[in-house]
Amino acid sequence: MLGSTVINHQQHVGLQKLAALAGVTHSYLGPDKNLKFIQDDTSGGSALVCSCFRVLENLELTCAVGQLVYETVQAHQKVYNTGSGCLLFLAGAWSRAVLECLQRGISVSHIISAMSEGMDICLDVFRKYSISTDGLGVVQSESWTETSHGFGLQLSKKPIKAVSQAMDHLQGTGNAGHKPPNTGGQRKIKLSRHFCEAKSRNVSAASQPKPLNVAHIAEGLTHGCVSAMKLVVEINQIQSKNHRNISCSAFDIIKVVTCVLPGLPEDQSCVLPGCIVLLSAEQALVAHDLQEQHLKVALINGDLSDSFCHLGFRRPAGMQHVKSKMPLSSSKEEEWMVTVLALLLKLEVNLILISGLANQKMIQRCCRHRILVVERVKASVLKAFADDSGGVPVTYVTQLNKQCVGTQAKILIWRDLGSTGTEFSTAVNISSGANSGLATVILTSCVHGKLQALEDQFWSCAYRLHHALIDKSVLPGGGVIEMLCIHHLQKQAGQCTEGAANPYRGVVLCLMADGLIDYITTVMFNTGRLSKVKARTLVSQQLQDFNGHVGTAAKFSQLFLDSGTEDTAFISTVKPVRAPPMTIYDNVSVKQEAWRKALDLVFLVLQTDAEIITGIDQRTDGAKENLMLL
């Protein structure tokens, strides 16, 4: 039976739910993370999780707010691979701020307008204090020492091209030629009917790319995942070696593959050029034979099997074969294998990469003819092989012809895994010639349950670097950018004029800033060196100091390093004191998007007053509390 049900949200249950859900993420904030066990009481299964995204993935979220949160975090994770914890924490912190506003009797529209303004202020701070990656961390030049002193405040004087472009983009003028905005005239109506067409923007690349110190940027973006970031830097080195003539900043994340090997100690994790695949003992023998040769490679985008059909092909259900003679001994499958093998031998193919799966008999038969079949190859790897070896991916193996077969592929036995019991015995490196840019990260751990977390950490580090290089700028990290935002929010809150359109602007902005303070103190608390109270005192002290000397050399120090000055002895034992303090960076686009998505979530939930549940059975669910049946 269909029905609709309405749940009244008195005292805004939705926001409370959001705040409660966000509580899950507290221990994942900052560089010092704690792992969590999630246990399923009914099945007895458990999962070891180390990020906000994985927690949500493992929870059964049935309420509407939970679903909304999960969808938002999932969308963010898909694009950025990092920052989900920050997103959810702020969604929680700001929903608490909104609850406080509601309690003070501030209307929804006032809350929304003030908070959107607060977000604009923060994004403005991002723009103002973002640091161009050009020339960043270039070895101890004078400008560097200067920057490290007057963090932020001095930086704003630099014309930062990427940022100004971004702002042009935001204003919708898109005048890369630095025209004054009002002469662009793109918004004016030329005719009564047509608007001026937006010209295709040709954002000219920076005239002369300055050398990028990728290692330095990566170090700043480590955020506690030291070993994972080390692997990322190694990939960059491998890739830039290959692309020396193009640009040394190349970091092509599409060409990175991960390969997990359980049972080995963690320090054996490493990076290798090329693509590492795991092979069975039988296949490994073929690989041995094919080593040190230039191989012809076939790329297949589908399965290697006679029953395979391309996507969208439907076999008619009622097909009956009328047999006129006795069936021959060879089956259809056998016929297919004979033809395919003949074709492969004619084309002299030694290596077949398949995105899908292969018929087991076919693999064995290929092995006998010294043809190596590799299954489950990532689409990006296929593409890289297509680009480098000149091969063309085909859907059916029968489509192969001379033009489709690539050349110059190579196989190298990387190591013998030695395990007899498992499916795979040997790890083999396949590469498409000299400068493919393909790189494989081998992740190892003795604890099987930790591999997922290690892989996640690696990808989030890789994506942090990737986005920093795309943004061409980073934010001062370690809490500095948050402190600057808090400072600006509080300053704006203080400047509220009487009789303004929104009389509650000041209060709302202050509460929003409190959410950010909460964020910083939680991160500081997670380091384990400070209590919550101490962290809060430190933060407010710094804010006060800053307010006292605006315009002078006052600055925010990076809180997570310099915090707890009393405990220096303790810190120095943990982390050796370096001569130049390590600088921490944050991603511009990741942070910006996470914050905005957090606020969007809060707004959506805040404006929602009812949940409509469809498909309720009135006899069984009708008795529940709070439900109104339609």
Binding site: S4, Q67, E71, I189, S192, F313, P316, M319, G615, L630
Partner: protein, 568 residues
């Protein structure tokens, strides 16, 4: 053998509006829908009871299909509103709010069903007559020489849905795009009957709204294409194009469930493939450069076509077919006959590759003047994007309706209060005769008028959701909102502007709360001499129809005597 099951007797409900269960449900539906109304309306999260995807919305066209009741009476009203929405896109919530308010109030007033129906019908015709008059005080003539009114109209529609979560700047950007897209779909120089073009919407998740844009021609998503389209092939001018609506996957799926007998040795798959390759050969001979297919193309055929330098795009989807036909002039080929008539081929001027974040799109430029354009809509997350898409389609429809009747009604509740004041004044002047004409007493006549006007006013008041008060001024009868949290000392000076933004508050103005009695007056019109431009406008055609639908549905609801349900 058939088994006999005893049939349960039908269920009959006498006087459904007097039924407690039904009136509670109608009341709930009214609260549910009116709470969504307007730019500060509350959102609803719609999901199923097993925790599926959550839709957050306040749009009637999304909300109403999700709401289904066990009570046929509720569904009757719902369906009627949905029919209006499917034809006019806009003003669904207005119609629902008015209809349910009218039903509820008429019932409460104690008026006899027939009297109430007759009165409603009479008052509706008064309203419609007034709205269609040239000197109507709440109507604005649209001037196509300037885009300002069109922009205002678009902006009003877009800003009325808070689930889009747009900033002022973003709303403006989208209204501009909506008007731009609308103007692009009006053909310039076609004599005779004018056929409007189309806007195809392409949603892109994860980007700033300000990246949204409108392009002439069509954009085809080729992100998932395995074979990259090389930039070199794009430069040739005026590409001969063929468009298939039939599947070229090489299967026999369109045969249905029947049984096919195949002789051993015959391979239907390869025979179909041969047929497909025949098509390929003819297409190459006819110098086709762009090969489009609504459905799947067999990889072997694709490989052949590509090897001949033809650009192949498959899986276009149903929704792109109509606009493609209009733009290229190609006739869709629905069968696999080998001889393609020459007139089936169309033309595309050129191709451009465009990148939207992770999406790669191929822009097909129209060969000449064409009224087809594509609107790329970007938003940060899926929830807001899907609402935005609905809203933009609605805006397009509303703008198109202006071509039918180049007028708009004042928004922000001003039309409702103005109409109510007009009806009060009008009905007062000839009360005795009209009552006689309608066959009711004068008291009933006054009561019925009051029900009608109050219902109209309640819809205006429903625009405010934050505890503010609704007021009406006693000269123009426009709608004003006094926010709940405005400091007392500002008092009535803090009004600023009325709901539609046409009237500014002045010390000489007098106001009264909407739910109080005021002496009737003839509301002044100021559209002619105003220097102010209205800030909120509603679609004239949609609202007029919504008004009629609301009153007629309410009349039908008042007229139902029995509900007979077959419960088997």
């Amino acid at each position: 053998m058939a088994r006999l099951v005893r049939k349960s007797p039908s269920l009959c409900t006498d006087l459904p509006l007097d039924n407690d269960d039904i009136s509670t449900k109608l009341n709930l539906l009214r609260k549910l829908l009116t709470s969504c109304f307007g730019p500060t309306g509350k959102l609803k999260q719609v999901h199923n009871n097993v925790g599926g995807h959550v839709v957050t919305t306040s749009t009637s066209s999304v909300l109403l299909p999700a709401v289904s009741s066990s009570q046929p009476f509720v569904n009757l009203i719902k369906t009627s509103i949905l029919n209006h929405v499917s034809r006019f896109s806009d003003c669904g919530l207005f119609a629902a709010a008015l209809c349910l308010a009218l039903t509820e109030r008429a019932k409460q007033s104690g008026l006899g069903g027939n009297v109430a129906i007759g009165l409603n019908q009479h008052l509706l015709s008064l309203c419609v007559g007034y709205l269609q008059r040239d000197d109507c005080g709440c109507k604005v003539k649209l001037d196509f020489c300037s885009s300002q009114n069109l922009m205002t109209l678009a902006r009003s529609v877009i800003s009325s849905k808070p689930a889009c979560v747009l900033t002022e700047q973003e709303t403006l950007h989208l209204s501009r795009l909506a008007v731009q897209a609308f103007l692009l779909t009006v053909p310039c120089d076609s004599p005779g009957t004018v056929t409007l073009g189309r806007t195809v919407t392409v949603p892109v998740e994860g980007h700033s709204v300000l990246n949204s844009a409108v392009f002439p021609g069509l954009l085809v998503d080729i992100t998932d294409a395995i074979y990259p389209i090389k930039a070199g092939t794009l430069n040739s001018n005026l590409l001969c194009t063929v468009l298939f609506s039939a599947s070229l996957a090489g299967d026999l799926s369109e045969l249905g469930d029947g049984i096919i007998e195949v002789h051993d040795g015959a391979d239907p798959d390869s025979q179909i493939l041969d047929q497909l390759l025949e098509i390929g050969k003819q297409v190459v001979k006819d110098e086709v450069k762009l090969f489009l297919c609504q459905k799947v193309i067999h990889p072997v055929l694709q490989q052949y076509l590509r090897s001949q330098g033809i650009i192949v795009i498959e899986r276009l989807g149903m929704s792109l077919m109509e606009p493609l036909i209009q733009m290229t002039g190609a006739q869709p080929v629905a069968a696999l006959h080998t001889t393609l008539p020459v007139k089936a081929y169309g033309k595309v001027r050129e191709l451009t590759l465009r990148q939207f974040g992770s999406k790669t799109m191929l822009q097909l430029h129209p060969p000449g003047e064409s009224a087809i354009c594509t609107m790329v809509l970007c938003h940060r997350n899926e929830t807001m994007l899907s609402e935005l898409k609905v809203v933009c389609l609605k805006t397009e429809h509303v703008l198109r309706l202006t071509l039918r009747e180049p007028s708009a009604l004042l928004g922000g509740g001003c039309t409702e209060t103005h109409l109510a004041a007009y009806i009060r004044h009008k009905s007062m002047s000839k009360a005795a005769e009209t009552a006689l004409e309608l066959g009711c007493s004068q008291t009933e006549y006054h009561l019925g008028t009051e029900v009608f006007c109050r219902s109209l006013e309640s819809v205006a008041a429903a625009l405010e959701h934050n505890g503010g008060n609704s007021l009406i001024d006693l000269t123009h009868a426009h709608h004003w909102i006094l926010p709940a949290d405005v400091m007392r000392e500002y008092g009535e000076e803090s009004f600023g502007f009325c709901g539609c933004g046409l009237v500014e508050s002045s010390p000489s103005k007098r106001w009264t709360y909407l739910n109080t009695n005021y002496t009737e007056f003839s509301p002044e019109s100021l559209c002619g001499n105003a220097t102010q431009q209205p800030r909120v406008l509603d679609s004239f055609v949609a609202k007029l129809n919504a008004l009629q639908v609301a009153v007629e549905t309410a009349n039908l609801a008042l007229d139902v005597r029995y509900i007979i349900q077959d419960v088997n």
